[in-house]
């Protein structure tokens, strides 16, 4: 029967697709395992891992828990993470219900402002809080001058935990607002016809539906609390309060003599295990979330609950919250950047100056940091999106035998704290022969950022992919297209909006990233975040604020353009 074969398209196709499956899987595995393997190895070596005479030992862990006051540090970290999570979830979820589902005046623009902090790093937030609410912060001094009391002390474990919680509240808000506004209106209507008041229906039907979003974002915020560097560094550093991350940072970078590789490795492994357990727990907790799936078919959006006479009371509370925890923090940065000295005792227009910006633009190193940040974010966004879409297509749309394993590996970086990712890549380049080439270049930063944020891109692309019926792939296969032809000609064109969203999200994450970079950058490959940390360490608060301001402006421009030109969906 040659007749049939003659009608079929010519094919080298099968081998091509299989080769792609394997290439994608092996590269992903190498990139994800790459930074972890050397860390684990280092944790059990008595010398830096690049030294040939290094020998295996468990001594690092013994030293970690006995010598270094580690118990205190672990307790600090846990306390910090718990308070961060509780504060963030509390404010985030309450804001989501009020802004998302009531007739609060100005709910639209309040909703916009509430997500601003998501676009900037917690380094920027930390600095804004420091400028306004630190011991000699603008608002602190103003209150002191008015009342004669020193109102708060953020240089304490509780103080910095609350700052971190308020900085992370927008993340909880974002997750919860999706759950409350996309709930099926018919569910509440059913409660209404069963005799519930609108408020009662909201509280008894829809609010419990936030549970998966709450669980998910709670664990996320807990993990972020554990791995956060900037806020503990800025507020804990002066009074000697350490968390695991600042400890690693100090040991790895600041140690006056040579850094203690063994302790750093052991500490990193400990952090990796804690975060890994939490992410695993998150998966377990989310398992039965099908019970709470509310969006089915073409359900109409639920209506707003009338607050009646409480409307303006709620507005006052929400506006105060937004004003003092978000607007003031950003304003602090902008103000500090544009004056020589920020104090409530002298009207700030009398101290206006461009000196801070002039300083930034007079130093090639600072200009390079800005350019590097833009280039890394742009190239990294494209490279990252390409990697993620390939992984998603193999994991979700192929008959590759190990597709589930690939997805698992690709999502593993959720459990990879930024500081560990950075440290791991740092070890990897000094350990693996030949990799020295990219050491200290922007390419190692791009690689580390891409690996760390694969799950973010995946989160933007996978849901869009599942919206494209598999029948379309099948129709292409039966028409004579192999897997690669099918995904490039049929699936990718339909996925275009999600690709833009993934690019925009990755750009924003890369542009604000700093933790992952602290062990990886060198003169020449510095980025805005690393330069800010450096300037902060030297006490140059004016230039730090100027850099932060520049970062915020570029981010705002990018978000505006990405939404306009690419139609990218960024946070709702």
């Amino acid at each position: 029967m040659t007749e049939l074969a003659a009608g079929s398209p010519a094919h080298a196709g099968r081998d091509r697709s299989t080769a792609i499956f394997w290439t994608v899987s092996i590269l992903t595995t190498i990139l994800v395992i790459g930074p972890i393997a050397p860390i684990i190895l280092q944790a059990f070596l008595d010398q830096p891992l690049y030294k040939p005479e290094a020998a295996l030992t468990a001594g690092n862990f013994v030293r970690l828990f006995t010598e270094a006051g580690m118990g205190r540090i672990v307790l600090n970290t846990l306390f910090f993470a718990v308070v961060t999570m509780v504060v963030a979830q509390l404010f985030g979820s309450v804001m989501a219900v009020i802004v998302g589902r009531t007739n609060l005046p100005g709910r639209k623009w309040i909703g916009e402002i509430l997500i601003w902090p998501l676009f900037v790093s917690n380094l920027v937030m930390a600095f804004g809080w420091f400028t306004m609410y630190g011991p000699s912060g603008y608002i602190t001094l103003a209150v002191k001058a008015g009342t004669g009391l020193s109102p708060w002390n953020l240089y304490s474990l509780t103080g910095m935990s609350i700052v971190a919680g308020l900085s992370q509240a927008p993340l909880a808000y974002l997750m919860c607002i999706g759950a409350v506004t996309k709930a099926d209106a018919q569910l509440e209507d059913a409660a209404r016809s069963a005799g519930a008041s609108p408020m009662k229906a909201l509280l008894s039907i829809t609010v419990p539906m936030m549970r998966p979003a709450m669980v998910y974002s709670a664990v996320l915020n807990f993990v972020i609390g554990i791995e956060m560097l900037a806020i503990p560094l800025v507020f804990g550093g002066p009074s000697g309060i350490h968390t695991v991350t600042t400890f690693l940072y100090d040991q790895g970078i600041n140690a006056a003599v040579q850094s203690d590789y063994g302790i750093v490795g052991a500490g990193a492994v400990m952090l990796l295990v804690i975060v890994g357990l939490l992410v695993w727990l998150q998966g377990r907790l989310m398992k039965d979330s099908g019970r709470f799936v509310t969006v089915r078919g073409k359900a109409s959006r639920p209506s707003l609950v009338d607050l009646g006479k409480w409307r303006w009371v709620a507005f006052a509370a929400v506006a105060a919250y937004v004003l003092f925890t978000i607007v003031a923090v950003f304003a602090g940065i902008f103000m500090r950047a544009s004056v020589s000295f920020l104090t409530p005792l002298v009207p700030f227009w009398k101290l206006l100056t461009l000196a801070n910006f002039e300083l930034i633009f007079s130093q090639p190193g600072y200009i390079r940091a800005i350019l590097n940040s833009v280039v890394i974010s742009f190239l990294g966004g494209i490279i990252g999106t390409a990697c993620v879409v390939l992984i998603a297509l193999v994991a979700k749309r192929s008959e590759f035998r190990f597709r589930r394993a690939l997805e698992y590996v690709a999502l593993f970086p959720r459990s990879l704290p930024g500081i560990i990712a950075g440290l791991g890549f740092f070890y990897a380049v000094i350990w693996v022969p030949g990799l020295d080439m990219i050491r200290g270049t922007i390419w190692i930063l791009i690689a580390a950022f891409v690996v760390r944020y694969i799950p973010i891109g995946f989160g933007a692309i996978a849901p869009a992919l599942s919206q494209i019926g598999e029948e379309l792939d099948r129709a292409s296969r039966i028409s004579g297209g192999d897997w690669w032809t099918t995904v490039t000609r049929i699936v990718l064109p339909l996925l275009k909006p999600a690709l833009f969203s993934s690019f925009a999200l990755l750009f924003i994450h890369f542009f604000k990233e700093y933790v992952t970079a602290v062990f990886l950058y060198q003169p020449g490959s510095e980025i805005i975040g690393s330069t800010m940390l450096q300037l902060y360490a030297q006490g140059d608060n004016g230039p730090v604020s100027a850099l932060a301001t520049i970062q915020v402006i570029i981010t705002a421009l990018f978000v505006f353009m990405a939404r306009r030109l690419l139609g990218a969906k960024i946070y709702g």
């Binding site: 029967m1 007749e3 049939l4 074969a5 009608g7 079929s8 398209p9 010519a10 094919h11 196709g13 099968r14 019926g469 029948e471 379309l472 099948r474 129709a475 292409s476 296969r477 039966i478 028409s479 004579g480 297209g481 192999d482 032809t485 000609r489 049929i490 064109p493 339909l494």
Partner: protein, 359 residues
């Protein structure tokens, strides 16, 4: 073109056997329908032929060409099978116009531009969609999309055409017209066709032969007439034309006929079905074959009217009698609550009680 052969084909999902030991030979040019209730494994079988599913064991051949062989591990990927497939949802690519949808398989076959245009025009004419070449799928009605999907499956002249419930998304009127049109088209092209449906009327109207399936097995294979008039077992009798079943025991008989004592002790005569009988049997008889008569007689049972409905052209009544509940269709309205029902022996078939489908 060549015969399509399924040889002892089985398809399992984990421990669940969706298709069990199906063997079929479909001569070239035949229109064969896989008919059965939802979930019986029709689509699974069809997709295994197309290569979009992987069979577990057995073999699939087109003439000499082996498409799948469980023993030797041969699996030809779908894109190399040169088969046309129409999906239940049509699966038109939304980012391509009608012409582009049809051009896609031709481009993959490296067919020249001029011939592409010619073939696309021809295929669209065939389905009477020539005017819509530049439209996008969302600009077409359901019936038009279905035609385009068919044109796309035919444009590269496949050796085999597979259709998975292609008419189920159309409204009833359109569906009836479409099936006549589909059958005429298939006859004109002479393309071997495997058609999947759960609609018995559709299957009877279009097929050369029908394979009735249940829980992954073929229950009966035959022409529409054979299937309708001599169902092989009670399942087929029930599924095709939804027979009544009167339960009873065999008390005698000869020459392919038997006497059955029904549960109320009435004895009637009936044909013996293909599956043979046991001691406990059911007598299958279609509602439209039962007759209301004036009084007792041979092959007459007494029954009580439980309820009725007017169906437009006939009346259908629910009756209880002879120890069973059954339906009867008549053109006249029944006024009494007690009736006598004649069960024609030539329209009654005996099956073993075990093969009776669970209600």
């Amino acid at each position: 073109m060549a015969d399509l052969i399924l040889d002892d084909l089985s398809i399992s999902y984990g421990s669940y056997k969706a298709v069990s030991n199906v063997s079929l030979t479909i001569p070239k040019g035949e229109f064969l329908t896989l008919l059965g209730p939802s979930g019986c494994g029709k689509s699974t079988t069809l997709f295994a032929i197309s290569g979009l599913n992987h069979a577990t064991s057995g073999a699939i051949r087109m003439g000499e060409r082996v498409l799948f062989d469980g023993r030797s591990g041969t699996v030809v990927p779908p894109e190399q099978r040169n088969i046309g497939l129409v999906f239940q949802s049509y699966a038109l690519w939304p980012h391509m116009s009608v012409a582009q949808n049809l051009a896609y398989p031709l481009k993959l076959r490296k067919i020249g531009r001029a011939e592409q245009d010619e073939r696309i025009r021809e295929a669209l004419e065939l389905v009477e969609m020539g005017r819509f070449a530049e439209r996008y799928p969302f600009e077409l009605s359901g019936g038009q999309q279905q035609r385009v999907a068919l044109a796309r499956a035919l444009v590269y002249r496949p050796g085999l055409l597979l259709l998975d419930e292609p008419l189920s998304n159309l409204d009833a009127k359109l569906r009836e017209r479409a099936r006549v049109w589909l059958r005429e088209l298939q006859e004109r092209l002479g393309v071997t066709t495997v058609y999947v449906t759960h609609d018995q009327a559709e299957a009877l109207a279009v097929s050369d032969r029908i394979a009735v399936m249940d829980t992954g097995r073929i229950r009966q294979l035959g022409t529409p007439k054979e299937i309708y008039e001599t169902p092989a077992d009670a399942f087929v009798a029930d599924f095709i034309g939804s027979s009544n079943f009167l339960t009873g025991t065999v008390v005698g008989g000869s020459d392919g006929a038997a006497s059955v004592r029904l549960d109320d002790r009435t004895v009637i005569r009936a044909k013996v079905g293909a599956g043979g009988t046991g001691e406990n049997v059911v007598v299958a008889v279609r509602p439209e074959r039962l007759q209301i008569v004036g009084g007792a007689g041979d092959n007459v049972v007494q029954a009580t009217v439980q309820g009725g409905a007017y169906l437009g052209s006939v009346y259908q009544y629910e009756l209880v009698g002879a120890g069973s509940t059954f339906r009867v269709q008549t053109s006249r309205e029944i006024a009494d609550s007690q009736v006598f029902v004649y069960v024609p022996p030539e329209a009654s078939t005996l099956f073993s009680a075990q093969s009776r489908p669970q209600a």
